[in-house]
Symmetry: C2
Subunit: 419 residues, 2 copies
């Protein structure tokens, strides 16, 4: 009798989350589709107008004012959603959605260096948190909804449902995963990705890697790239924080920070005479798989992204991290006897794995984007990058679940930005 009850409760849970997960998936998938189309339009416009970066200070002012006067908590971005999952306090305002969407599009329009996963994840989380107002849901349901919303946003913006599903579970804690939200996350991610595709929105196709036997050279290469990716991730996090601190110290009025920050980015771009570090940088990412890039490329992307996001522009960190990683891996092809596409793919997933502390989601992303043949190499890179990035991350509200090294166990249970 108990067993029948248990099966019935598992069945009820499945049907309930088929509905709720399907609903969030449809909402987040539609939001991502709209976002991707708009982002594409904005990027084309920028590429056609070389003077667009001259608008960086003006766009910065707009974003700064909007977040300062209408944003309230919204300025905390992804961390707001993570905090609500760990320590629920109040509903996530729907106004987060237009703010982050508008802010991201404006950032990309004028050539800031930023990504898109933050936007999609925040839209997914904000949409998911509207459901408890309309449906009768418990606090436990709300928690699962928020996690599923993050998964749905991530899955649909990159076209990688498995990576998205696992990302939502893995990003909450550094060093551990819990499975309470596994079914909601998988369902929401699967539906969101299908909905984005059903709207006719496609994703960048990356080269599929061939099978390679794991030789000592390949193993050593994967570990070396992983270690460098972890250090690059740490450098990026450190520089972004430093930029934020400097602006906060010298400019008291927050809306002015992205104005000055935008001017700095624009001047640097003008000084270098290139706009290749603007926006997502997909063309350069694809170039990284074709031939070795100069080592300066990844370093400049790091600097541009830290300068853009550190002063208050909006967007995600992930695509710039893909860029840095792919360019870093590609640069190593000049010295390592390994295929450039493989090295670029390792870097692509590795820097992100180290920066977000999500090695399994990044491994799955590697399998979904580059095919299964090089899976274990990509997995090794992600795991080593995770080991080398320390107790730091692009999401300050991530909580240490299991310390990376025994001597840091006292930090378990603390948020990364409290350390």
């Amino acid at each position: 009798r108990l067993r029948a009850l248990y099966t019935a409760s598992a069945g009820a849970f499945l049907l309930r989350w088929l509905l709720l997960g399907g609903l969030i998936g449809a909402l987040a998938g539609t939001a991502s589709a709209g976002f991707l189309v708009a982002l594409d339009g904005v990027t084309r416009w920028r590429e056609a107008h070389a003077w667009a970066p001259a608008l960086l200070p003006a766009a910065g002012l707009l974003i700064g004012l909007a977040y300062h006067y209408f944003g309230q908590v919204a300025g905390r971005g992804n961390n707001l959603i993570l905090d609500e999952i760990h320590r629920p306090s109040r509903a996530i305002p729907l106004r987060l959605l237009p703010l982050v969407l508008g802010g991201t599009l404006l950032t990309h329009l004028v050539g800031g260096s930023a990504g898109r996963e933050g936007t999609a994840v925040q839209m997914g989380g904000a949409l998911a948190d509207q459901l408890p107002r309309w449906l009768r849901l418990t606090a436990a349901d709300r928690r699962l909804l928020l996690i599923a919303g993050m998964s749905a946003g991530f899955a649909s913006v990159f076209g990688t449902p498995l990576a998205g599903a696992v990302f939502g579970l893995e990003v909450l804690w550094l060093g551990s995963v819990r499975y309470d939200a596994v079914l909601p996350s998988f369902l929401a991610a699967a539906v969101a990705d299908a909905v984005t595709r059903a709207w006719g929105v496609g994703h960048t196709a990356y080269p599929v890697l061939g099978a390679l036997p794991l030789t000592p050279t390949l193993l050593g290469g994967a570990l070396l790239v992983g270690a460098l990716c972890g250090l690059a991730a740490r450098g990026f996090i450190g520089l972004t924080h430093a930029v934020g601190r400097v602006y906060a110290r010298f400019i008291a009025y927050p809306p002015l920070r992205p104005v000055v920050g935008g001017a700095v980015v624009a001047l640097l771009m003008w000084g270098l005479g290139t706009t290749r570090y603007s926006g997502l940088g997909i063309p350069v990412i694809l170039e990284a798989f074709q031939h070795p890039l100069p080592p300066a490329v990844w370093a400049w992307k790091l600097v541009f992204t830290a300068l853009t996001l550190g002063c208050g522009f909006r967007g995600g960190e992930v695509t710039p991290l893909f860029f840095m990683g792919a360019a870093l891996g590609s640069a190593l092809a000049a010295v390592l006897p390994l295929p450039v596409a493989l090295l670029a793919a390792m870097g692509f997933v590795g820097v992100f794995a180290g920066a977000a502390n999500t090695p399994l989601a990044c491994t799955l992303m590697g399998l979904e984007l580059f095919g299964g043949q090089a899976g274990i190499c990509l997995g090794l890179t992600c795991v080593v990058a995770y080991g080398f990035s320390g107790h730091r991350g692009i999401y300050g509200a991530q909580v240490v679940g299991q310390a990376k090294h025994p001597h840091r166990q006292p930090e378990e249970g603390q948020r990364l930005n409290e350390l």
Copy 2:
């Protein structure tokens, strides 16, 4: 300065585990290669001698005597290794290796229905636990070594390094994963798989699935197959335990149990007039991907495996679980409008995911064996099967990390076989 120290410690950890993980990988990979070659020979011999099952009682006596008089704790198999990871008490005896190897080969020689992952995992664990005798290692190192040894054994016996790496991490706890062993597991799994392949030992090639858009039919199919897989897993675990209890109750002298159990299996085989449920059953698994199998096939494999393993024969559960799942999915192709190969693949990974409570490892296995195109379908099946299998599993020493449902939270921290 602290940062430099931290990087140095991450580097030292990497180099240390490159050595240790490489060593376990080489040992476990070599053991798996020898095991696979021997298993292949034994299976050929049995297929050429239709009367082999007549030897089941005699083989049962040999295995029963060996485990009773020389085995000591070895009879606990995988659970011994899991217990040593959770609550270390004494070194795992090297004699576990010849016992489980001989017992498994004998079981397969005479046509018992059994698998191979248990053997590989136990060999990996037993070999790993020899290293602390020769090298100076701490208790924390030993724990990581045992986990890495399990990962290495699993990875090399199936040729799926990512699934193996994650299996070692995921099998310890039901409902949660911790990352302390993530680097040792990935390294050992990668090296073990490469070493097995370097010995020239190949693995079964399964059909690569094509891309399918996620339609409501496909989503519903994946969820339905998942639910049935979870229930089938629960049925298998229940029946295996019941068989064990019946033999323990009516036959006081343990070595006699596999004698009687062997006779029962042989008689049932003779009554059905088929040996297709003997051994791993790879040919039937491959058949399941080609055309729908009758529904009786998966049920008989369940019964034969429970009867074989419940009375004391040796081997793993996993390949029979693949068989049950693939046959179950294949049978559903008669009623569901989905490709038979896709349904068979869903069942293949689903029953195992439910029975071992390892949905992520099984999803990765699906990606490694069947290609990345159907990844999210396989993932959904695994996650739903996990949800439907309850707090039960083929590894009784698995500890509940996070309950599958809130009302079972009091069970967190308990071993499955204590519930």
